[in-house]
Symmetry: C3
Subunit: 178 residues, 3 copies
Amino acid sequence: MENGTMATMSTPAVVSYSDPDSSPGSGFSLILLSKSNPVFGCYMFWTSLLVMKMLLMSLLTARQRMKTKTFANPEDVRGGLEVRFGDPNVERVRRAHRNDLENVLPFILMSLAYVATGPNPLTARLLIRIGASARLLHTVVYAVIPVPQPARGLAFLTTFAITFFEAGYVFVCCLKYI
Amino acid sequence: MENGTMATMSTPAVVSYSDPDSSPGSGFSLILLSKSNPVFGCYMFWTSLLVMKMLLMSLLTARQRMKTKTFANPEDVRGGLEVRFGDPNVERVRRAHRNDLENVLPFILMSLAYVATGPNPLTARLLIRIGASARLLHTVVYAVIPVPQPARGLAFLTTFAITFFEAGYVFVCCLKYI
Amino acid sequence: MENGTMATMSTPAVVSYSDPDSSPGSGFSLILLSKSNPVFGCYMFWTSLLVMKMLLMSLLTARQRMKTKTFANPEDVRGGLEVRFGDPNVERVRRAHRNDLENVLPFILMSLAYVATGPNPLTARLLIRIGASARLLHTVVYAVIPVPQPARGLAFLTTFAITFFEAGYVFVCCLKYI
């Protein structure tokens, strides 16, 4: 802080703003994308879990490649082996990993925009928790211990529906900025 | 707001800051990543559309899998069918989906950083609108109604060029923070 | 700024806030996700480089497709050629590109959340620089000039470990918002 504002703002103050669109009585609210917003904190917590889970998919793939000696690059092959493709155990983990790219990354991106619209905190945190947990479960029933359907289908649809809801919410909220 | 600032800031005020790098005359500007910035609102609107479009790719793939009875997992197969791969209709949608991962996700991430640099609002909103619309078109001509080239190529190149421009803009803006 | 605050805040001032969770002595800090935060500037700079690199993968793939006349779509084929799959040169670039989706996008997303927690600026900038540089190197040794292992493995593990560390850091920081 510089010149002139020091006198009035010499004590720590939570920066806040009043949304010009909100009702006059709402007063000050938090900056939505800051760690002082508990919804953003919740978002960050579950994002960290999902990213760690996604990174572990690479290790799961590597384990299956070692186990089945299926290596896709000549420089990875040792001891007279040839490059191989299409081992079902490797491909299962790779499909699970690709499914994460198709669903977890949009969920993380969409939840960020959703949090930035300032949704109801209880709803937002519930959606983030359920959406992220369902993807953790999805990996377990797809790539770790394959179980019969509809386990995977239900886990998939849960996060799918939540991401879609968040996108619809943001769509309506930001329609005026089209 | 607490102690001491209450007297001067007792009325709701849009929180704003003046970028120390900007010219002295620029006065106060908005927090860039907040819903009170119309450029960020525009970004959120088109992000929601792109994410919904990407989610629909999963449903398109599922429809093609049902139609052609091409299932990649043993647990998805019923009634004496075997797992199958490589059906051209399924693979076309999957290529379109993968192309989205390769281009839509970078576009969404890069546009966010671009908006955060505080670009010219008119330019920024134009780029976001065109870039997102081109990807919607890309899906139509690739996976819904395959049409001859150069339709897909042009749609691809439009968003590609815009993402590249945004990246170059951010690169130059943030060069001092290397 | 409106009514009443004009008098005291007539000079440009960096907007700042004191995190209610931080120690009383910490005074004012920057808005973490704004261009006035050098760590966020560093994040944006390297994000722009990584996105440009990822976009170039598409051009590398196109070059290999032209060279080896391996086109995956009937509408891309001209002059009596047929669609072809599985050319090793094309597949190598495609594997490198997919590896980027699996690692660069999580790195970009996770670093954003990491920056938003307000980490030590020196550490944060170091991690971002090293993590991004390792991925640039990864592409060179995988898709441009294939070299024997462990070059690719080391480049992969560097960014992998940094993303994991960032995720762990955010996990601990935001545990209270679970």
